[in-house]
Amino acid sequence: MCLGYPGKIVEIRGEFAKVDFGGGVVKDNVLISLVDAKVGDYVIVHAGYAIQVLDEEEAERTLELWRELFELEGLRYERAQEGAREV
């Protein structure tokens, strides 16, 4: 059971937070006691509680890494293919 949605904490009231999931979906009573979260953090919400604070920097870094690893190589591959077609 891995269903989890990332959302942004917009308000904290005691153990619960108001979380904005985007697209107009806002949940008012997400339990945040099992993570260290503050307003503005992104959390993964599963069955009404936050299981983790998402590491935004890590999300960015991972994508950059992939682009370097796959895309730049891919561009070289694409150019080689184009060259082959022109011959």
Partner: protein
């Protein structure tokens, strides 16, 4: 649109996906042999099916679903016990929507029993269940707790805070790592590598998998749920296979850590202990059931109503191949009932009930023939 949402959208970039698929094909042709990768999470199956990931995989790479759906592995005896409490003892049952449609040993689901007078309340979180019980103090309630490591800590947290006196919990929660260990030991499944569950792993951490890995070294990659996450995880498994150097890797670094959410796990283990548990379609798995510690027997429906931890299962309904689908030995289209008598509207086996069941996911995406599964 927020920053992170924008970043996550890029996890669906088709151009990058094509590049990764290209690299997967390169690696797969280098390996040459047939490769079977198993994931153990219904949400991974949804991502793979929804985004057509199987269509871009090379001929010799297959990704199959393993035991990653809590409703599918829920013992029929526990469903029967809930129905009995609801109908004979007139106790109100609180549970998640998926659970209410799973059939017990007599072919009845909680939803069927509702037609016979059972008071069933569907909730979205344990907190909602607590609020309902608080609002109706004259009624007795049982929360039917179904889910994996991801779900269990919120129940434990509420138990520690104190439940309303008219509410108890039947814990059918299961701990995932031993089930993956069980699959790893099954030689007949011939799994070459594993995609480990990202959100269950967020809570448990990667550490519990080490003992199973050491016993039976094979690539294990914790994966996120965006299409690029899954493609990269497949690539990482293949990369390990191509070099024959195996390890436990983490693709989902923005959420999964080696230690996991220690607070959530500690909360769960303060209230529950891990005991031998029955997985429908699999059998008993040591240390896989979250069972209430004796200290909390007042809120433990098993102690209060004398409900044993199930030891054996009546098996699946006649002709249903869910038991093989659950462990990845068969695909839904290999079941004679699939989309003939067993459909999302008329589910026969548990894999057609839950949004995380492989049969339901395939049915919702109109996958009817094996040829469609593979490009």
């Amino acid at each position: 649109m927020s920053e992170l949402k924008k970043v996550l959208e890029r996890y669906r970039d088709p151009r990058l996906a094509r590049r990764i698929a290209e690299k997967i094909r390169e690696l797969a042709s280098k390996i040459g042999e047939k490769i079977l990768i198993m994931h153990v999470c219904g949400t991974h199956e949804w991502t793979i099916t929804h985004y057509g990931i199987r269509h871009v995989l090379p001929e010799n790479v297959e990704v199959r679903a393993g035991p990653g759906c809590p409703v599918c592995v829920l013992p029929a005896a526990d469903i029967d016990s809930m129905i009995r409490l609801g109908l004979e003892e007139r106790i109100s049952i609180l549970t998640f929507g998926d659970v209410s449609r799973a059939r017990g040993g007599r072919g009845l689901s909680l939803e069927d029993a509702r037609g016979l007078g059972l008071d069933l309340r569907i909730v979205y979180s344990f907190q909602d269940a607590v609020e309902i019980a608080s609002r109706e103090p004259e009624r007795r309630f049982v929360f039917f707790g179904v889910g994996f490591d991801t779900t269990c800590p919120s129940v434990a947290h509420a138990v520690l805070r104190g439940l309303p006196s008219n509410m108890v919990v039947l814990s059918s929660h299961r701990y995932v790592p031993p089930a993956v260990g069980w699959v790893m030991c099954r030689e007949d499944l011939e799994v070459d590598g594993f995609i480990a569950p990202g959100h269950s792993g967020t809570v448990t951490g990667m550490r519990p998998y080490r003992e199973y890995f050491e016993r039976n070294p094979r690539p294990i990659v914790f994966s996120g749920f965006e299409p690029l996450d899954v493609l990269v995880s497949i690539y990482m498994v293949l990369r390990q296979l191509s070099t024959a150097r195996y390890s436990i890797e983490n693709e989902y670094t923005r959420s999964v850590t080696w230690e996991g959410n220690a607070r959530a796990m500690a909360t769960a283990l303060e209230v529950f202990e891990l005991k031998e548990g029955l997985w429908r379609g699999i059998g008993l798995i040591e240390g896989s059931a979250f069972d209430f510690r004796e200290k909390y027997s007042r809120v433990d429906a098993r102690a209060v109503y004398g409900i044993e931890q199930p030891r054996s299962d009546p098996g699946m309904p006649g002709g249903c191949r869910c038991a093989e689908v659950i462990i990845g030995k068969a695909t839904p289209t290999e079941c004679p009932l699939y989309m003939r008598v067993c459909t999302p509207r008329t589910p026969v086996g548990p894999c057609m009930v839950s949004v995380e069941g492989t049969c339901k996911i395939w049915a919702d995406h109109r996958i009817l023939r094996r040829e469609v599964e593979r490009a």
